[in-house]
Symmetry: D3
Subunit: 235 residues, 6 copies
């Protein structure tokens, strides 16, 4: 599994329970954090006088690394792009395509196609999608890393789902790693108001998961959009 | 699995491979055919002079029964509603809700929410959806048949997908039962022009399934819409 | 051409220029007016004290007949359904299917699938669509009137297009019959406020038609939704 | 304000804070509860042995009345329709049109156009919309109750918003009546699992309201869809 | 209020009445005109032989300035971007974010997300949206101009609304400034064919506004899309 | 007619029958192939060891030229952009705008607005659309090539239509040039798996065309999306 996160905390709010669960069950999970969210996702830190970009980065790196550790993530990279806006260049497309070929994921998790309040998230969705297509094309040459075959892609929940045209395609039960996710979220002191928000979101999605499946054991869940239809041997 | 088919042949064109596969793998599959399609789906038969409703019904029943047999279906009922239009009454809702409670399916297959050329299919989708909700509600009393829990529902492909706003949500590989499906389709002499059409459709969906999954062994497939998001322990 | 109008004036506001043009060029045009719009489309008449249903019907019939005459319509029928709500029964479906077989139109004009302010219009769209499908099915028997082949269907512009999800699919140039349409609209004294409105609408659609086609001669136009894709030998 | 609720508790879960606020500020609020939700919304009550329809109705009436009292509602009617399915007849359309004319609301709150899990809610939305159009039409005669002018209509949040295509059009701040709403919700012991759910929903919508408006004082909110665009003298 | 206009006349056609009304009622309105529309919106001027870019700019500046004066606009800037295509760079994003912080608007009016015939308009919508998000983020530093809180954003009507997926979210009554708008539009001799068009549009939107609100005094109106749901203390 | 093809074979798979038909009937058809599809559309060629970009280009050029010849295309240009990703610059916009003015097409065929598996196709759609708007604007100066008037634009079918939100707007009967199309497709040995796929697609679209039109002579067809509504003197 490869997780591509626009800012330092997105992978935790949006998929922390799923990441922890996959790791717990033995999967190899790689996380790429594209930016520290210095400009757009660190409002509380900028309330301190004499705050600097370097200091914000340092704090965000610490918070994010600690959260990753709690989730059990061993492979995490910080690519340190500037955010707000997040610019996607040809070189960055190539870099991510190569990263996909290195990690050869069966599943990629990243942002969904529209976030009604966060244009960086839209840019990252297009970025990951394009690089995944490049990774799967034999004519895109990355010496040492052979072409991949089509993997599954899923989209994170944005903060306000309805105005972002988000449609849940898959609910993943995270009951067994819910506590880990809550602990990991608590690392992000710069976005403290979000901890309760995403804790309740897990409860809400658990309610939905039970109602849609009839399985009472699903207490907490995360939901994701499907980039593609599911292809399977049975339903 | 419960399959609800508006007319005598819909379950074969749209889900014959999937039905045969589930049966082959040991599932209990029930098919309810709501009408013989006398008025709307038997155009070729009406070209014969002195054709009668009774005779068309007889032929359609024979064709449909034989196709079901080829697919391995043991439980099939013909409810003999009139088609074009197909009217859904309170009594019919109750009857289907009870049938769902009798058969207790994990999966229901039926028509999708819109068919750009066939209003009966839309009516059946709403019918099945409403009855499934009734079946899952404790206050709807059907003595002897206890309430069900939420099952999964999937929608058939309509004939012209794009003008019907059909979105494939799940592709099921039917490579192992493709030959059975082709044999079953050949029973419907009243709709002979559709045999080649749905044979090619299985090839096309197989191509899509391979492309979306990277699994080369998927040669033939059927696709279905998802009524609900998928809820699962993992992707 | 067959035109099915929910109320007494719809066929004039929404397609009067097109009807007049087809007649002028030799087409046989049949109009079915389903209701007089007594309850829902005659607000001004009900301002008079002691107004009665019979009198409103009489006035609406006179206005509508006169407008039809101005457009050159020779074949018009008033089916006198009650409006608000407009109820579609099995018998009414059969009646319209038979009417379609009698008139054998190449083109049917009627209401579009959604009117954000007028539920009768939605009901009529479904009514006409269902009856057209029945008319095209060999198993629906109407002695003396053989089955039809698929005709083209187009949808009228509703009053407020954007909130009705109306998408123009075809613009018809009505420059040569614009004056006739204006004259016909003037017959509807019960809806006087609409005359200027639909006069300006013809101007606006003429502007759109010119801009989309580059043809400067298109001064006035009517627009319609396409029920189906266009099928043709060339674009 | 007129609130039309499909089942006994819908008006509380979905608009309790807004109702209480309007009443607190002096508005006259009328509530019509169409059914007791005996069949579809009382699952917990049916777990008791020897439960009867009459008893369930009695309990639901008590719960609902008590909740209404807590919200300050003085005008509430129970029309006792059967639910699951909820059938809308011509007579019921007339009855509600007359009720609208009696109460002459500036605002109607009711269900939104689609609920992915509850077909009754869809039926009620269409019911209220049609009756409101009838109420506004001079030709629909209800002796003693004159025609109304167009009022505003807003749609409740369904339980699972994204699969119901719900788009919030308006957020109403309910901070000042949040406690009242929580108390009112606690009356519904038959649906105890929903109390925490809708308490958290108010928190989530408060978060959204703050983010979208920049007003920090908005702590709790309810959201509604807009049936129509807003028309105003200024933004 | 801040108005961001892609070309020299857009702010007049699309929001002239609203601008004049806000100014009349004491609001501070700032207008930023991004380009003179030399390449894409000055077709009539290019019919003159020996026309030059400089001369077209000069004429467009004169027309636009005069129209602004008629509307009462005191704060207008011309940023002189090239149009067709309009390119949005990092520097331009920063510049507009800073402008938003300087003017601190409660409301931003600009183009809507899609114009079926004018790609510049789409680009400007994205430009304004992104810069507004940057302006509201504490980590985006513009010395001397502190961070803003979330303002409201509304989208202009495009020329052909239906093919541009435009949905009116708010109608503003402009009856009291309609005459001013008409006078202002008359300044644009290079686009003379649009004057009658947008005069009639105000009439049409006035009709819609009356119908949707029941307020007879609304004679002329402008409509706008809502970028976000409305957040308010009451409906 | 001008056809703009992202890669070397797109114009054949997606519009070969229509191109051949127009040429057969005397039209002047120009084809611009933007890239050879070296990186994204030549997977089979890259299976050979020691393959080089130059060699792939050479093979693709040969295949594409031969296919064009079979279709009767006399005017074809290869612009040799790199693919995966396909970058659209200001200079490239100008170049295509000038090409449109040189060829002055009544019809432009190119990719549709979204391809769920091929971001190059989306980029090309935007590219062609923008350049066509520039070509139609008098202020965009291309010495020697005067401004064009609005032409019709149509979109190719993508490979997987439903996940690409493709809506057929027009079906063109290609029965008379079907054999030519099949021959032309056989040239593309690098994409051999697509030949059967697009052969069957022509059969499927022929079935749809017959069903929608009632014209039995339509055996094979191609479908296209409509960029704009149709504007015409009659339906």
């Amino acid at each position: 599994m490869l997780v591509v996160s626009a800012h330092a905390a997105d992978f935790v709010w949006r998929s922390g329970g799923t990441i922890a669960k996959y790791i717990k069950h033995g999967a190899e999970v790689h996380v790429v954090v594209l930016s520290f969210g210095v400009r757009g996702e660190s409002n509380d830190l900028w309330k301190e006088e004499n705050q600097t970009v370097e200091n914000v980065k340092k704090i965000r790196l610490e918070e994010s690394s600690k959260a990753a550790e709690i989730l059990g993530v061993k492979n995490i990279e910080y690519w340190d792009f500037e955010d707000y806006p997040m610019e996607i260049t040809r070189g960055r497309l190539d870099r991510l395509a190569q990263k996909i070929r290195e990690t050869r994921p069966d599943i990629i998790l990243t942002h969904d196609k529209k976030d009604g309040l966060n244009p960086d998230h839209d840019a990252v969705r297009n970025y990951v999608f394009q690089s995944s297509i490049m990774s799967n094309s034999a004519g895109v040459i990355t010496p040492g890393f052979p072409v991949t075959k089509q993997m599954m892609l899923f989209g994170f929940e944005p903060h306000q789902t309805e105005i972002s045209d988000f449609k849940p395609g898959t609910f993943i039960d995270i009951t067994e790693t819910y506590e880990q996710k809550v602990e990991a979220m608590k690392c992000f002191k710069a976005q403290g108001h979000l901890i309760e928000y995403y804790t309740q979101r897990a409860f809400m999605r658990g309610n939905h998961a039970r109602r849609l499946s009839g399985v009472k054991e699903y207490k907490y869940a995360e939901s994701f959009s499907n980039f593609f239809p599911r292809v399977a041997s049975e339903f």
